[in-house]
Symmetry: C2
Amino acid sequence: MRAASALWHLACSKCAARYDADAIAQLCSCGAPLLVRYDLERAAQTFTHQALSEREPTLWRYGELLPLRDLSGRISLGETMTPLLPLHRLGRELGLDELFVKDESTLPTGSFKARGAAMGVSRAKELGVRAFAMPTNGNAGAAWAAYAARAGIEANIVMPKNAPAIHRWECERAGARLTLVDGFIGDAGRVVAEEVARGGMYDASTLKEPYRIEGKKTMGFELIEQFDWSVPDVILYPTGGGVGLIGIDKALHELRELGLIGDRMPRFVAVQAEGCAPIVEAWKAHQSSSTPWTNTHTVAFGIAVPKAIGDFIVLDVLYRGEGMAIAVSDGELLEMQRSAASREGLFLCAEGAATLAAARRLREGGWIKSGERVLAINTGSALKAGAVPTRDR
Amino acid sequence: MRAASALWHLACSKCAARYDADAIAQLCSCGAPLLVRYDLERAAQTFTHQALSEREPTLWRYGELLPLRDLSGRISLGETMTPLLPLHRLGRELGLDELFVKDESTLPTGSFKARGAAMGVSRAKELGVRAFAMPTNGNAGAAWAAYAARAGIEANIVMPKNAPAIHRWECERAGARLTLVDGFIGDAGRVVAEEVARGGMYDASTLKEPYRIEGKKTMGFELIEQFDWSVPDVILYPTGGGVGLIGIDKALHELRELGLIGDRMPRFVAVQAEGCAPIVEAWKAHQSSSTPWTNTHTVAFGIAVPKAIGDFIVLDVLYRGEGMAIAVSDGELLEMQRSAASREGLFLCAEGAATLAAARRLREGGWIKSGERVLAINTGSALKAGAVPTRDR
């Protein structure tokens, strides 16, 4: 039922360098992130519509295109495929007949970060890693701490002190070593870099290890399967580091190369908050990378990333595929959070609600056309304490 | 792929009365709950190991033994099958080699209450219900409010004012009419009864409508499938109203009548908190029903039910199957909550942690034997704000 990984090598996302996939690797010597490459010809022999439909309904069903050599050694907290929900009532209100949400809140630890953590921690364990360090805005650190506990690996999590308190609680409960910093995720990243420089510690920062993206990628496989192997017209993604967007795009390209979908790609929309919108500014100016954002302020803390290490990849995806980037206000996303609950019974996180607020604006402005199939990614649950705005308690 | 419901009639759980399953029904005229009966001979034709394995991985896969006449009209927020997780590390510590948790926290609204709400609201909608009222300790009301929003049905939720604040937030956000009462769930029930007596309102109280239990029942179908059609030795269930325990038992009996499992049943353990343990007291005294508990006090608010309407059914299940009832202290369950997080990366709700605390005690006392396969039900997520003890924030 399961299939062996077609893992081949690691390739630099900027230069031509290749690295052995079975040794611990971080960034390329040129400083850019490494991406996992597979032997797609080999994968094609067993990775078929029919074969997939008969496998267990978890993200592990995509074994050929996952980096884990031995799936039986996977670290799992139960990563069932997340629901794809049609929003009829809200869709009608927004003028979108074909509006869907992929609801990632049903994953372990209540957010899509479980995908990256399940894959990243599983592969780290397989490669013999005993301890890692990472910066986080909260959900990712909580997820990695939980999977590390399950794996018996030491987790060192560095988090802005303004991150929602629930994430501190999760990390501490899972037995992680937690450091709080006065600043943003970039400042947390500097603390991690110092720790890693002292040696003996795996750097699990976003895109500084190549496997988290492979977990996020499974969102793309799942949504295509759930749409019965058709590609939606528009995918809206709440963009902080942007790894999920990069991952979904990578998944679609792999499926295309395997001949499982056609050539048409979705138009990606990178959704940010007006209080932290470096990708949006870069996209407007048609720049290849972003300028660090200053004066960050938004209730959508998960996407408050002033400078993403993978910004150039996100922007490339938008430029290649007629995508776009848009920022919404906290007022808009909070209003949408209310609408989704009262119209559809969905408790979206602020970041997820931002994607629907963006869909509304893009439909009103005509960028999304009547009849188009639109998918918004809800990355987590509003029910995690921190995600519920205090004034609403 | 889907199969038609083999819904037959409603049968009283105490007297011999039968009721039409396609008319709105509440309690039997004798005052006892009604249970749903199916034409099992008809169901047996399509409800097979093989057929099930090919269906969608949600609770709707059990169509023949669900009350919904038309599955296409179901009200769904994405009820994917919940993970069955082996606990190797914690199991070793407790002397339990075969310890599993079924983790219900991954359901919509973060608790197993989604099962009852999905089925109850779907069937209410199918029967033409426009408005319902129900008492709740929090999670059930939140789930029913969410599904009601999705269905476009009016929800009237009555909740103790001491219930966790997150549940108020959920109900209000989902557009339910919320009433707070000074007291426990029984007091909330009295308010609902008054409201229902005024007419025009469906009574969705636990066991006063017959369909919620049919949703909870799917826990039983799932766990048997996930254990590859074998029956565990012991199932520990956090018991407030006890509908989940009744439901799992009902599922196993239906599977047995269909010949899909053998005659052996699990030993059920009804786990309560020392601060509210009416079922435990009744079981110890071998009584057929419980005496209302006074002076209720526990952090496990979800199982703080001083007098359950279905207590006599729960006790009957325990007596029939060599089961038992046990109470654990808040200290024990909070300690187990910590252990599950640090050893396994699992953020169990207080009620779920209580089942593992009970497993520890029963193993130490010899009631659970070495090598037995033990399943604990975790009914929800600790990450829902209210479930995290305030002193740990």
